[in-house]
């Protein structure tokens, strides 16, 4: 059970949160211009890294805000948390 530091509410138990998969995958601005392969890349392809991963989380049972997290998936250490729209920390 992680202890997650919501950037809006502070430290809360993991059960208040919902994981939202890989972060920084921007929805294409002009989907109709994309080939099937390009669209599939956006739609289906996700990295599943053992190590440092950037991911989206939602404080679903709290402020309902989405934010980003840098997590080491090999030991579940949360390296950083930052708001949507903020630049990801450099490693």
């Amino acid at each position: 059970m992680f202890l997650i530091n919501c950037p809006y509410c502070g430290e809360r138990d993991q059960q208040e949160f919902k994981a939202g998969g890989e972060a920084h995958i921007e929805r294409p601005k002009q989907p109709t211009e994309l080939s099937d392969d390009e669209w599939a890349e956006y739609l289906f392809m996700r990295k599943n890294i053992k190590g440092i991963q950037f991911e989206r989380w939602n404080h679903a049972h709290g402020c309902r805000k989405w934010f980003n997290m840098v997590r080491d998936t090999s030991n579940d250490e949360i390296k950083a948390i930052y708001k949507m729209g903020e630049k990801p920390p450099t490693q």
């Binding site: 919902k18 929805r27 109709t32 669209w39 989206r56 030991n75 579940d76 729209g85």
Partner: protein, 1001 residues
């Protein structure tokens, strides 16, 4: 006659408080402070159970939670019965009953004992090898295997006890209240850390509290005296909470731990009622100090499992702590000095100690000299090669051990005895440490796994951290505490410790016998009857990974999780395979450390608190009018309203006809409602729905279909424009929370530039849906001054009105195909609104209808239900709803996916209507559809998604998804059922009023 083996009055046993209890139907006596194990031993009862596989007689081995053998059924036949309880952990109370498990008809005479003599036929992997063929026989085998498996019996009536959960936060959590735990907790609390100390037993002090080695001194006191004084001082310390009878079951990442606190298990039945039996503590600790101690290992030799063979440390605890001698002729078998302490403990109380068998060549420590002076015979470099006594140990044979420890020489010596204390060294209890994700390292010198890489704010102190001698314990504890808590001074700074110099131990994982291994039974896992030869067999058969050997031989897979034998299993594998133990690694220690009850896990979430449920404001009316309910998501929805003993079918037929012929009313309060406001609200709707919204006039309603980004239908509902920048969206009952979540996601992450605010108002409104040709007249009666003409209030429009003083929103929308109104009022007026409608509708015989009738009526119209007619693989095109997909809009969620090669395939499953050739046959929902009957295997074309008997059409109707169904209008197909094949024809999914004339009727 039973003997009384009480040997001295112990300060932990209250001999003035005599307690009677029953074991296997016989009454015994013990005292307050006894465990079931100590009380039985005091009555000279060693035989308490039978082993799992061979049904060998087994006795009490240990004095703690690591006990593999003495597992009993507590209070059998009552509603408080509990299986697989360790007798070493049960505190006795007046009226306690316990019985042996895994034996029939009794533990003394057990039919299953024959397995012991058949044991050559039950090697490792017996089940895998034997029941493989013929494959079709598995069901028969399974029947017998299931009957012979299992230890205790589950209770058959509901649990009368109350369980609880509690969240606990602390700065420092100390697990284990031995000498290290107590000193750690004391110093943490003194330095203003909010500290919680947890101990699984009901007394503090661990093994030091009865430590009697006269050669060990702390500040010139025996460790026991010194520690008692320290414990006394704990009472005066602020910031310190102590929980005894509390066992940490799991240690998760981020210092999140689960502990079970036992509150009433030690009380008489009459004192248990209306109290919380167990409390699950959910602990978040800033720092964790593990002081879980060490578990003594046995030695692995031939027939090392007989009742009367115990751990040496357990013999000592029973003698020193409980005042019980485990035997009258005692022998110890050891590879280190600790057995000598146990021997002296008995000797000092005048109990006979026959001999000590030591596999080492010699030891020069003071305690060994003391034993020699006492005249106890010591056999150096000897090992036990066999033992005898079926239900109780009566003698053992020993032989001289060769120099390399792999064989025995010389002649056999026989020693008669009734209790053997075995000391094989100490294994740090690192279970919780590894559960937290931290990593161990093998210490070649000490031959143990020790904490190495911490992943959380944690330290391991005392023997679980590898320090066994009191001087090392205190020194290392002191600097670990200072380091970890960042403190300068502790109570440990000026302590003087003297200790007896212990000679090192000699580790031989598997001791040899004069017989070949194949003819011996050296048990490694007592509970699961795994022997050293099973492990060697597994290696011969090619198993290499420790995890595989474990599963193949079942070593370490009992309820004790191999707390005693796992190290030996590793040692034997390492020796046999010629690898280092450190390279082998350990098996994974998984939670719980000791078993948890289901009660503790679920806490208060039982009965009506099992799951959350939601009721509409009209619920009481439905109950009063005898509605049957169905669960829709968390909602309890009225399903149908049977009258005069109607079946569901009869009620639904009646309700459906009434709704079309005169008037019906449905409680639609459960539909999800999202209030949408902001200057970009229209643009937002354009992006989330497939159709266009910009031109929707204020006061108008529109049906919308929402897709996932993959193009599949996600939700649907009607949205009404209340104002320039204000909409109210309805969602499906089950989808409300997910839809809101999804919309928030897009707003916050993809389109933060949009000025839109979403609020869930599902619970704020109650909705009555009035439908049928007379609905207009009924509404007119309720709100006489509202203009209900088609010109002023046409289909798909909205009006605000007042019923008395109550503001309401009325939408003229329809899910049944009839002329209908959805009236929304503030939730607290819901029942009032409903009753007004019923009253006004009396003259039109208004009929309340439930969800089943709603489903039937909409199916007659071919309206889909997301989640029933769709399953996450249906696009709007598959649903033949092309009309709702805007071609003009540049983009909306899921649009691009509708043009992927896969979604554009012609042979996708498509929604169609299905009519049975015999109009009286109603298809089963989920039934498969085929075009050929004589093909094998036959191709499945699709399946039935909705099916009803329509009273309005007087025939059965169905919706189905069929591969390429769109172009198969009129095609004859089959629905094969178990006993018959049903002939069906593909039809339009709209069965009733295809021209929508009734909407304006």
């Amino acid at each position: 006659m039973t003997k009384n083996l009480r040997v001295k009055s112990s300060e932990y046993i209250d001999e003035t408080n005599r307690i009677s209890f029953k074991f296997n139907g016989k009454t015994y006596h013990g005292f307050k402070g006894d465990t079931l194990a100590s009380a039985l031993l005091a009555n000279d009862v060693h035989l308490v159970g039978r082993s799992f596989k061979y049904h060998r007689p087994r006795g009490i081995m240990t004095s703690g939670s690591e006990e593999p053998n003495a597992i009993v059924q507590v209070n059998p036949g009552t509603n408080r019965t509990e299986p697989n309880v360790r007798a070493t952990e049960v505190e006795i109370y007046e009226g306690l009953e316990a019985s042996s498990q895994n034996c029939w008809p009794s533990v003394e005479f057990d039919i299953g004992g024959i397995n012991n003599f058949l044991s050559p036929f039950f090697p490792a992997g017996f089940y895998y090898k034997t029941f493989m063929w013929p494959a079709s026989f598995w069901e028969k085998y399974e029947f017998f295997i299931r009957h012979s498996a299992g230890l205790g019996k589950s209770p058959t009536t509901s649990d009368p006890d109350i369980y609880d959960h509690r969240n606990v936060h602390c700065d420092v959590l100390v697990v284990g209240a031995g000498i290290s735990g107590i000193m750690a907790a004391k110093n943490a609390a003194k330095n203003n850390f909010k500290t919680l100390l947890i101990e699984e037993k009901n007394e503090l002090g661990g093994s030091t509290i009865y430590e009697n080695n006269q050669f060990n001194k702390i500040d010139n006191k025996t460790p026991s005296e010194w520690l008692k004084k320290e414990i006394e001082e704990l009472k005066n310390i602020q910031n310190l909470e102590i929980k005894t009878r509390t066992s940490v079951a799991a240690y998760h990442q981020y210092n999140y731990l689960l502990a079970r606190e036992n509150l009433t298990d030690h009380l008489e039945a009459k004192n248990k009622t209306n109290k919380i039996r167990q409390r699950l503590l959910k602990i978040r600790a800033k720092k964790v100090i593990l002081a879980t101690g060490a578990l003594e290992r046995p030695l692995i030799f031939n027939n090392n499992d007989r009742p009367g063979i115990m751990l040496s440390s357990a013999v000592k605890k029973y003698s020193e702590f409980y005042g019980v001698a485990c035997g009258s002729k005692n022998v110890f078998f050891t590879n280190n000095d600790s057995a000598y302490e146990s021997a002296l403990s008995l000797y000092n109380k005048g109990i006979n100690v026959q001999a000590i068998i030591d596999i080492r060549e010699q030891s020069e420590s003071k305690i060994v000299k003391k034993v020699k002076e006492a005249g106890i015979k010591i056999y150096w470099s000897h090992t036990i090669v066999d033992t005898s006594g079926y239900k109780r140990l009566n003698s053992l044979s020993i032989m001289k051990l060769s120099n390399d420890g792999t064989s025995v020489t010389g002649s056999k010596i026989s020693i008669s005895c009734d209790c053997l204390g075995v000391a094989g060294g100490w294994t740090p209890a690192v279970h919780l440490y590894t559960q937290s994700g931290s990593k161990l390292k093998f210490d070649e010198e000490k031959q143990i796994f020790l904490p190495n890489q911490n992943t959380s704010e944690q330290i391991s102190v005392g023997s679980c951290g590898g320090d066994f001698k009191i001087d090392e314990i205190i020194k290392n504890l002191n600097h670990k505490l200072k380091d970890n808590l960042n403190i300068k001074e502790t109570d440990l700074d000026n302590i003087k410790v003297e200790i007896d110099q212990e000679n090192s131990k000699r580790n031989i994982w598997l001791l040899p016998s004069d017989k070949p291994l194949g003819k011996t039974k050296p048990f490694v896992d007592y509970q699961n009857d795994a022997t050293a030869k099973d492990i060697k067999l597994a290696l011969r058969e090619g198993f290499r990974s420790i995890e595989h050997v474990k599963r193949y031989t079942t070593t370490g897979m009992g309820t004790d999780q191999g707390k005693l034998g796992n190290m030996h299993a590793l040692g034997i594998i390492a020796d046999t395979a010629g690898v280092k133990m450190g390279e082998l690694g350990t098996t994974t220690f998984r939670p719980p450390y000791t078993p948890l009850t289901f009660g503790a896990i679920v806490g208060r979430n039982v009965g009506k608190f099992f799951d959350i449920f939601r009721r509409t404001p009209m619920n009481n009316w439905h109950v009063e009018n005898k509605a049957e309910f169905e669960n829709v998501g968390q909602w309890k929805r009225a399903w149908y309203y049977p009258i005069n003993g109607e079946t569901m079918h009869q009620a639904v037929q009646r309700e459906s006809k009434a709704a079309r012929e005169s008037a019906g009313i449905l409680d639609a309060s459960t539909l999800g409602k999202i209030d949408i406001q902001g200057s970009d609200a229209s643009e937002f709707l354009n992006r989330v729905y497939t159709n266009a919204w910009s031109k929707l006039a204020i006061g108008k309603c529109r049906y919308g279909l929402m897709l996932n980004e993959d193009g599949m239908v996600y939700d649907d509902g009607v949205t009404t424009r209340l104002g320039e920048n204000h909409y109210i969206m309805t969602t499906t009952t089950g989808g409300a929370a997910n839809v809101l979540g999804k919309l928030e996601d897009y707003l916050q992450t993809e389109w933060p530039e949009l000025d839109v605010y979403l609020t869930s108002v599902t619970d704020h409104y109650a909705t009555a849906s009035l439908c049928g040709p007379n609905s207009k007249k009924i509404l007119k009666k309720i709100i006489p001054d509202l203009d209900l003409s088609d010109e002023s209030f046409p289909h798909m429009s909205f009006k605000e009105a007042k019923i008395g003083n109550v503001q309401c929103r009325i939408m003229r929308i329809s899910f049944t195909g009839e002329h209908s109104y959805e009236i929304n009022v503030q939730a607290s007026y819901g029942k009032d609104l409903w009753e007004k409608c019923i009253e006004a509708g009396q003259e039109f015989k208004i009929t309340p209808y439930g969800t089943e009738t709603m489903h039937l009526l909409r199916a007659e119209k071919g309206f889909i239900i997301v989640g029933q007619d769709t399953d996450g693989t249906m696009t709007p095109i598959d649903l033949q709803m092309d009309w709702i997909v805007s071609k003009k809009k540049y983009d909306f969620i899921g649009k691009r996916s509708l043009y992927r090669s896969d979604t554009m395939r012609e042979d996708r499953k498509q929604l169609v209507g299905l009519l049975t050739d015999d109009p009286n046959i109603v298809l089963e929902e989920g039934a498969q559809i085929v075009s050929e009957l004589n093909q094998n295997p036959v191709e499945m074309l699709g399946h039935v998604t909705s099916s009803y008997f329509s009273p309005n059409l007087n025939k059965s109707i169905a919706l189905a998804v069929v591969r390429g169904g769109k172009d198969m209008m009129g095609k004859k197909l089959f629905v094969p059922m178990e006993n018959k094949n049903i002939n069906v024809t593909i039809a339009s999914p709209v069965f009733y009023d295809e021209k929508n004339e009734r909407l304006n009727a």
